[in-house]
């Protein structure tokens, strides 16, 4: 049985030998053209003159396209039709593509693109949250508010009230493989694309729109991505469309990959937030009322900002019962790159808001923050409702947190740290436990569906195909294990194939942590279908009931009959049994009314908790994570090795977001941190010295694939414990509350420590 085994990633032997093929590794015909965008050098303005002669005459340049040269719709947006592929007239951010170069090499295209002479009449750009608020530059005309209860009277009766605000920076995805696409023109005007994307179907649709053809004329294939993290949910559209247009116009294959600096300048990032809060608690520290204003810098176009902001609101409660609450979301349109999906999809920012509130209250009440958090958890016995009206069922966080606090000796270490801090002048330590409750399902309900295609060949070998994409998360490995388990065969008999819009159509993005939940179930349904056909056939032959036909350990037994799985396949085939099936799955029990913010948007919640211990240097603010203990809920694990990998990686990525990863734009709207030399994701030595990760032993209370739970996004939010531990360490410098913003760079930690020392 392959389920639940810690098997290596299916591509691991290919990864380590360099044989795993990414888009840029695919051999291309010699006449392949290479593409590069020419970019805007202003954050906002009108193009008044464009001289591209030097670009056109640069070595290797075959063609240069502007908006006027496009054959179809000039749009790369996910839905709103507000994002031209090439700016036509107005430019909306520094780095916006204006023209497209087709050249004989990647280097020639890039060098030529830099030679343009473009005059842009600059206009005042809205760069910051404050700029946008002053200009009332909102998407959807104004803020969106969801409420429950009566905040004002509850707040009036509160024993203690805290208010404040936290600035939370964005985050660059820094997938190691940059955005890349390859278009190969076919006969009859058809187009085949190889694209590094989490959403092949959207690429198909957008390319068809750009070429003014039906969807069936475009096929998109994605074998694997070198990392996605949400950054390849919509941000690959531009390259794929550019390549398809280039191939359409020239008849030659066209490839485009962004140089890293261009990638970081052009593409969207995690939304940066400012969260203003006011929270009241009763005498026991229980929340009675909370108000959040979430100010979000969405950038110049809508992209996925609305659902991202919704999810931030949906996670404003995290794991806590808040009887009276108002959440207002300000979706601000600014002249910066269009912020996009990033692992957690707004959830992390929403969660930071409430964790900050609890940290602030604990400081005010001089309570242990963990005790305060525990006191405010949802009740398990009688399911309480979230602010959006979904009962919190299967709420295992109280047991998990108790177990983790004990196994990691939270109390003992908290006391030891206090003693250590008393003796240490310039170095201080801090510790914090934060929980995660993350809603699983796309909030746009119709996306919660998946399809699969399973082929059993007459020699007993199997290919599986599904709508999900592999970006490193081990989706294909998990799904292959599901298939092998269904047929009772070894993994070597199951071949994973590239995601292909020609095999499984109308798919959703691999996003919202849904990959294995949706596609695993779809593949299982297809496998069950084929297996049942064989079982019915063999049952008739053997004179037993279909359910008595057993598929296990590579063999099939039916009464007296006993044969290898391969023999069973051959035998079924020769008796004209179909060995190919599609599978389909739609998540049950979900509904959502976005306008009023009520419903049952999530099939279930995934849980986790982390304890982080840090040390800071108050002379410089330099800080380090010393130890991390994590207990995470993946239900009944499909593959514990893959799941632990997601948790370790998610934690480090989340901690990076909140510590060293700082995006800096200058006063002209130019991103100054556009390469790994200036934008610092965690390096090897930044991982915690002690890093204990355990899986909660349990199963999902709702019927997911083998009772497992989604694991892609939730662990990222375990990293919030690093920010809260830093707050604890800074708090040890004096009496004031640290008011630590994120990312808590050395500079912010230093300045916060100085403030707290000043308050002594």
């Amino acid at each position: 049985m392959s389920m639940g085994k810690p098997l290596p990633h299916d591509s691991a032997p290919l990864h380590v030998t360099g044989a795993a093929r990414y888009i840029d590794d695919i051999p291309v015909p010699a006449d392949c053209l290479h593409l590069a965008f020419g970019l805007s050098h202003e954050a906002r303005g009108v193009i008044t003159a464009m001289n591209l002669d030097a670009v056109r005459s640069a070595p290797g340049v075959m063609r240069v396209l502007t908006a006027a040269d496009l054959p179809g719709v000039n749009d790369i947006s996910t839905a709103a039709h507000d994002e031209p592929l090439l700016a036509a007239g107005d430019v909306h951010y520094h780095g916006q593509p204006i023209f497209l170069v087709l050249a004989t090499s990647h280097r020639a295209a890039r060098e030529a693109a830099a030679k343009a002479d473009i005059t842009i009449e600059a206009k005042p750009a809205l760069l910051s949250i404050d700029d946008a608020l002053a200009a009332r530059s909102y998407f959807e005309g104004g803020p969106l508010t969801w409420r429950r209860g009566e905040v004002a009277p509850a707040m009036a009766k509160a024993e203690t009230i805290v208010d404040g605000r936290i600035e939370i920076g964005g985050q660059e995805h820094f997938y190691l493989e940059g955005q890349v696409s390859l278009a190969m023109p076919q006969d009859n005007g058809d187009m085949v694309l190889h694209t590094s994307t989490q959403h092949p179907t959207e690429i198909q649709h957008k390319v068809a729109e750009a070429l003014a053809t039906p969807f069936h004329a475009v096929r998109v294939e994605t074998r694997r991505m070198g990392g996605g993290f949400g950054g390849k949910e919509s941000q690959g559209n531009a390259l794929a469309i550019a390549c398809a247009i280039g191939a359409h116009l020239t008849g030659k294959p066209c490839k485009m990959r962004y140089d890293r600096d261009d990638d970081m300048v052009i593409t969207g990032k995690r939304h940066d937030f400012r969260i203003a809060y006011k929270a009241g608690v009763d005498a026991k520290g229980k929340l009675v009322a909370v108000e959040f204003d979430q100010y979000v810098r969405c950038g110049w176009s809508m992209d996925l900002s609305l659902p991202v902001c919704d999810r931030a609101m949906l996670h404003a409660d995290n794991a806590y019962w808040i009887p009276n609450i108002r959440i207002t979301s300000h979706r601000l349109k600014t002249n910066t790159c269009s912020a996009t999906a990033f692992r957690g999809f707004g959830g992390p920012q929403g969660m930071v808001g409430i964790e900050r509130v609890l940290d602030h209250i604990a400081h005010r009440l001089k309570m242990d923050p963990l005790e305060l958090r525990q006191a405010n958890f949802y009740k398990k016995s009688r399911p309480q409702e979230t602010p959006y009206g979904q009962p919190v069922k299967g709420f295992i966080l109280p047991e998990m947190v108790k177990s983790l606090a004990e196994s990691a000796d939270y109390k003992g270490r908290k006391q030891a740290i206090a003693r250590w801090n008393e003796k240490s002048t310039v170095l201080k330590k801090g510790i914090a436990l934060t929980p995660v409750k993350f809603g699983i399902s796309f909030t746009l309900t119709h996306l919660n569906q998946a399809g699969a295609l399973v082929n059993l060949y007459a020699d007993g070998s199997v290919t599986i195909n599904h709508g999900g994409t592999e970006m490193g998360q081990g989706l294909n490995q998990k799904v292959a294990q599901v298939a092998a388990a269904g047929f009772g065969i070894g993994m070597e008999q199951v071949r994973i194939t590239a995601t292909d819009t020609g095999k499984v159509p109308n798919t959703s993005a691999t996003a919202a942590s849904s990959g294995s939940d949706l596609n695993g179930m779809a593949v299982k349904n297809a496998v069950d279908e084929i297996r049942d056909r064989i079982a019915r056939f063999l049952a008739t032959e053997a004179g037993v009931k279909p359910r008595d036909v057993v598929f296990a350990q590579g063999r099939v037994t039916a009464g007296e009959m006993d044969m290898t799985f391969a023999e069973a396949a051959k035998h079924a085939h020769e008796n004209r049994i179909s060995l190919s099936a599609t599978g389909f799955y739609a998540t049950p029990d979900i509904s959502w009314d976005r306008a009023i913010g009520k419903g049952h948007p999530f099939f279930y919640f995934a849980y986790g908790a982390a304890i982080t211990e840090v040390a800071i240097d108050t002379l410089t603010g330099e800080n380090r994570i010393l130890r991390v203990d994590i207990l995470h809920d993946v239900g009944q694990s499909l593959n514990p090795a893959v799941d632990v990998g997601q948790i370790e990686g998610g934690y480090v990525q989340g901690a990076g977001w909140l510590t060293t990863e700082e995006l800096v734009w200058d006063e002209k709207g130019v991103l100054r941190t556009h390469a790994p030399s200036t934008y610092k994701i965690p390096a090897c030595s930044d991982r915690p010295d002690v890093f204990n990760v355990a899986l909660w032993n349990g199963e999902n209370h709702v019927p997911t694939i083998y009772r497992s739970k989604a694991v892609g996004e939730p662990p990222l939010m375990l990293g919030i414990s690093a920010l809260m531990a830093l707050s604890d360490a800074v708090g040890a410098c004096g009496d004031g509350y640290p008011h630590l913003n994120a990312p808590a760079t050395a500079e912010r930690v230093y300045m916060a420590a100085k403030r707290v020392q000043g308050a002594r």
Partner: protein, 458 residues
């Protein structure tokens, strides 16, 4: 240029190669060896890591900022060349599979090559070996588990026995002189030529700025220019000595300098980057000039037959302007060793500990006798347009008792010495305050107080 080298054990001869074609582009585009990846094209992510072996040893190097002529006469091993001829995986490859060290797999070839190079050199500090390989998926934990495991196993025979260069040795090229005298002559004849040492900076001019370099003179093949002489009275560091060589040569004498050099950059960059390059490019944020200035180093400049020697601090005139004439080049830097009492401490402040450019780099060399400061040489990077001494601070210390009160007073003088700027690395205020706090740190460290956050454990 004409070059010969070993590629995964097989001799390759190329004629007429451009001086600025990178090894990465050549491997991927000409040779079809696509296992080596482009992640950032600037030497910061390590996805393009290749292994370069010559008679001085084996090094991991970033292929994206390594020009083809730089491997003339050497042995180049890529991820495709690590497994045995019969396909048996290298122990690091096997360990990476077994310990789940890859997820998306894009950074993996670079990691595997760095780990294999570390196994050959016997490096067991995996954080040090892997600081230049970024992974966005795993959080590094499984990769380090794999590295620990692989380090216990012997270097496979097929790699151990691979020669350090092609049988014919390096091809001779006019612009690859092999003696200092020849370089001096060439430099004089071509004062406008670009000197390329490790190409860790020049590589970016080519890849990012598309800057035409004109004639290019390569210098790291000049053995005598790479030499580091450690004599009783001085240490003389040839301009083409790598940062890694400097780190190893100073580990005992100046442990604080060597520890900072760990953080100067990744193993890949340290193996390629040179001391001369770090000085000659005149960057205000190069990490070697401040400690060298604090040690009273002298710079030796050569022009043809002529040699002149100046205090290193005088080399940096203003931002973008150095005291170097046409036809002249940096030949060596000399640290006098007459002061046995050197008490050098070097403090680097950056957003990330490893492989990051300094926001502030402070080097302190304060001599104490009878509890009094008798001399102080303090130099900073990141605080001005050039690496610069903190003369007012030095004045506020010398002759005074070595006490907290003196330190507290001297900290006020930093504002007299420096008016740093704000940029994406740090604000001016933060730079100024932390620079002053570094003096505090130096004093506390002197009193035996624990001040290094990197030494703290849970």
């Amino acid at each position: 240029m004409d070059i010969a080298f070993l590629l995964n054990g097989e001799t390759v001869e190329l004629t007429g190669v451009s001086a600025t074609t990178t090894v990465l582009d050549w491997l991927r585009e000409e040779r079809g060896l696509t296992g080596t990846k482009e992640g950032c094209n600037e030497g910061d992510c390590g996805a393009c890591t290749v292994m370069v072996t010559d008679h001085s040893g084996t090094k991991p190097i970033n292929g994206c900022i390594l020009f083809l002529p730089q491997i003339n006469g050497k042995s180049l091993t890529t991820v495709e060349g690590l497994a045995a001829p019969d396909g048996t995986m290298h122990p690091v490859q096997q360990a990476m599979v077994e310990h789940h060290g890859s997820q998306c797999g894009f950074c993996t070839p670079g990691f595997v090559v760095s780990m294999a190079a570390g196994q050959i050199t016997g490096e067991t500090d995996h954080d040090r070996q892997l600081a230049g390989n970024l992974c966005r998926c795993t959080g590094y934990a499984p990769i380090v588990r794999a590295a620990v495991n692989a380090a216990r196993q012997p270097v496979p025979a097929w790699l151990r026995d691979r020669p350090a260069g092609p049988p014919m040795g390096a091809y001779v090229n006019d612009f690859q002189p092999t003696t200092i005298a020849a370089l001096a002559e060439l430099r004089r004849a071509h004062p406008d030529a670009t000197i390329v040492a490790g190409a860790t900076d020049v590589g970016l001019w080519v890849n990012k700025d598309h800057r035409p370099l004109g004639n290019v003179i390569f210098i790291t093949q000049i053995e005598e220019l790479r030499r580091i002489e450690v004599a009783p009275y001085m240490i003389r560091i040839g301009a083409a000595a790598s940062i890694e060589a400097l780190r190893l040569a100073t580990a005992r004498r100046y442990p604080s300098l060597a520890a900072m050099l760990d953080r100067f950059a990744s193993a890949q960059v340290r193996a390629a980057a040179t001391v001369g390059g770090n000085i000659a490019n005149g960057s205000p944020i190069g990490d070697t000039p401040p400690p060298l200035i604090a040690l009273g180093a002298m710079l030796q400049l050569r022009n043809g037959e002529d040699m002149r020697e100046i205090p290193l601090e005088d080399f940096f005139i203003e931002y973008g302007k150095q005291d170097i004439g046409p036809g002249e080049f940096v030949e060596a830097v000399v640290i006098p060793r007459d002061q046995e009492s050197d008490r050098l401490k070097v403090y680097k402040l950056s957003k990330r500990f490893d492989q990051d450019i300094s926001a502030v780099l402070g080097a302190f060399n304060i001599e104490i006798k009878d509890e009094k400061v008798i001399s102080a040489r303090i130099a900073f990077g990141g605080m001005a347009g050039t690496p610069q001494r903190a003369r007012a601070v030095e004045r506020a210390l010398v002759g005074r008792p070595w006490t907290e009160a003196t330190v507290r007073t001297a900290k006020w003088s930093f504002a007299e010495d420096f008016r740093p700027m704000s940029d994406m690395r740090a604000s001016a205020a933060y730079r100024l305050e932390t620079a002053a706090n570094m003096l505090d740190r130096y004093w506390r460290e002197d009193q035996g107080e624990a001040v290094d956050v990197r030494e703290v454990t849970s």
